[in-house]
Symmetry: C2
Subunit: 222 residues, 2 copies
Amino acid sequence: MTNTTIARRRGRPPKTDYSVGATQGDARAALIASGLETLTEQGFLSAGLDGMLKRAGVPKGSFYHYFASKEAFGQAVLERYARYFADKLDRHLSDDSRPPLERVQAFIDDAKAGMARHDYRRGCLVGNLGQEAAGLPADYRERLISTLTDWQRRLAACLEEARHHGDIASDRDPDRLAEAFWIGWEGAIMRARLERSPRPIDVFTDSFFSGLNAQHQGRPSS
Amino acid sequence: MTNTTIARRRGRPPKTDYSVGATQGDARAALIASGLETLTEQGFLSAGLDGMLKRAGVPKGSFYHYFASKEAFGQAVLERYARYFADKLDRHLSDDSRPPLERVQAFIDDAKAGMARHDYRRGCLVGNLGQEAAGLPADYRERLISTLTDWQRRLAACLEEARHHGDIASDRDPDRLAEAFWIGWEGAIMRARLERSPRPIDVFTDSFFSGLNAQHQGRPSS
DNA sequence: ATGATTTTAGACCAGGCGTCTATAAAATCA
DNA sequence: TGATTTTATAGACGCCTGGTCTAAAATCAT
């Protein structure tokens, strides 16, 4: 059997375990953190590597040691963001100590606070990259879509609970409601950033909650 | 009356092989038309002048004869887009031959057809620039906001009619509903472009219409 | 011709991504 | 210990693109 314990190799060992956001000294983690800040503010295409390198305090030579290209770097940042966001979602939406819709509101308040904390300069990375999707490598598109459907799945589960709880009309489909939520959410984040105000988020979320117990009806007959 | 046949002008004659601007002979119009196509696809920051010039069939040296800078050019394109879009809105929303909500649906169908016609490559210029607002000159922000509130005003008037018509619960505020519409709309356009599908628009608009006759209720108590 | 006006060609410079070479650090082998 | 191998840092350089500007071209007016 192979020696799984240590398996000695020659040479300087790599700084393994990038997944856990190692803190100081880890250039790769610093780069991703810097990328998160920059890309949520500026998007991908118009963001320059040099700026992110400077922000992270990492020289260019190191960058291409850890990432094959700017594109590969962007993907890594997106992965990290998707995980970070899904964790935040779960933290709120699985909080059994509150009724389901309050959990949704708790997530919204959390996100709102985050935007205010950064003076409405940072948006949603998925929204930013989504708008640039035309000019991005093809695999970005798939990843962005899968991220959104992942968030949708998590929200739908909570809305399903709310339906059983009696807070949503029984003929509404939680999955479709969740889909509509994220569609509107991205618009609300964009608008909040534009106006530098939490109001768009409030207007959207109020509208969303109001619609939950409406009788479903088709569009106006044509 | 002016001689429209030949109308000789002073100075070096233009090359007049503009490919885009329907109206031949006007390089400026060709540039704006080209800019509309490009900026609705790519946004402002990552779009290059060269591509737009080539698309318009206008030589590079001419650009700064017609516009003071790329920024000024972008503003001109935005003005044109805002007018174009407001006209389209009015054409539908003021059509007294149909009930108000059907007019809204007619506008939506029109916009959907436009997106499909361009294979979901082009988005809403206001949405594109809005997402880039952080990296854009300050006056862009104000213009984008005023454009959205202008569209909101027009839609609110139609929703007010719908309320009198009995299609909207009497305690809902048409202005706030219209505000919510444009917030979600931008999200829907973005998502439709990402998925290259009309579905996000349908999901959003169905959700919007469903909410119109709901009893208004606050957010979940916290 | 000379001058005025309109349009264009092309140079210019800044910045952006990626590469390349050099060096230091950390471990093993001899 | 010293040689060797692998990892990581360091930043200068090249090539290209992109926005801007200046000088010149092409025409009309006098």
